[in-house]
Subunit: 137 residues, 2 copies
DNA sequence: CCGAATCCACCACGATACTG
DNA sequence: CAGTATCGTGGTGGATTCGG
């Protein structure tokens, strides 16, 4: 399903696919990106990629998220069919969240992005500082 | 970079890395995700992955984006060292945007996510409709 | 322990108009 | 063509409280 990626080596710019190819695509995937590309969704997916978790486990793992945003984020992911919610009517109550097959199919792309982010953290930090000090003139 | 150096815990048999491993990571990558995971950044990266573009080319390609948000998005990506901005002092003026080496390194993860999104568009749509009709009771 | 609900500040974002 | 400026608004997201 994944199209062969453009070879980087020795390629000229003209060998890149025309914009139009992506252009139509953009129309379609923009809403998806706008949805999963919020502040928390991908982090939650990233955590759930390690296995099912309870609500407060998630809250602890995704440090900094508020209870409300975690609820809303999970609700959104559930709506999109990426996460399933299982309630155990015990006392105390217990709710497990885990990736659905669809959510599971998203694991690899998200993990890759996460890996990219953590590998290039320092570079980005430096770029920011350089930019900020440069425009402070 | 992931599963290799993860120490084996107790007797549990799991291919998945423990949460704790991701947990510390999350702290660090949350800001990055919050940054690139806004409404437009990844789409712009996706377009620029096909080669350098001028401002209005981008505006047309990323359908639906306002002039203001494109400017802000590009400025943010530039600040993060992902995109470079080249001004040609001609008349009419011309400004080219293209991926930096750092931005280039992000191409593959973003393209993968884009591919994932476009492949599962229909599934997500169906999941949403199912969810919405189910909670409309 | 899990999560819904309310209140509220802020800023993300879009629309529009204006400049070099 | 490539922005900047300004303003208005809806939504995001935090703090807190309540319920099951």
């Amino acid at each position: 399903m994944l199209p062969e990626h453009i070879p980087v080596t020795g390629g000229t710019v003209s060998e890149l696919p025309p914009v139009e190819h992506r252009q139509g695509e953009c129309q379609a995937i923009a809403p998806i990106f706008a949805r999963i590309g919020d502040k928390w969704s991908m982090l939650v997916i990233l955590i759930l990629a390690t296995g099912p978790r309870r609500f407060n486990e998630l809250k602890r793992a995704v440090s900094g998220i508020s209870q409300r945003m975690l609820t809303l984020t999970l609700r959104g992911l559930e709506r999109d069919g990426l996460v399933s919610r299982t309630v155990f009517p015990t006392i105390p109550p217990r709710v497990d969240y885990e990736l659905t097959p669809l959510g599971h199919s998203m694991r690899e792309p998200v993990i890759q992005l996460g890996d990219w982010a953590s590998s290039h953290l320092a570079e980005i930090k430096r770029a920011r500082e350089a930019f900020d000090s440069r425009d402070a003139e």
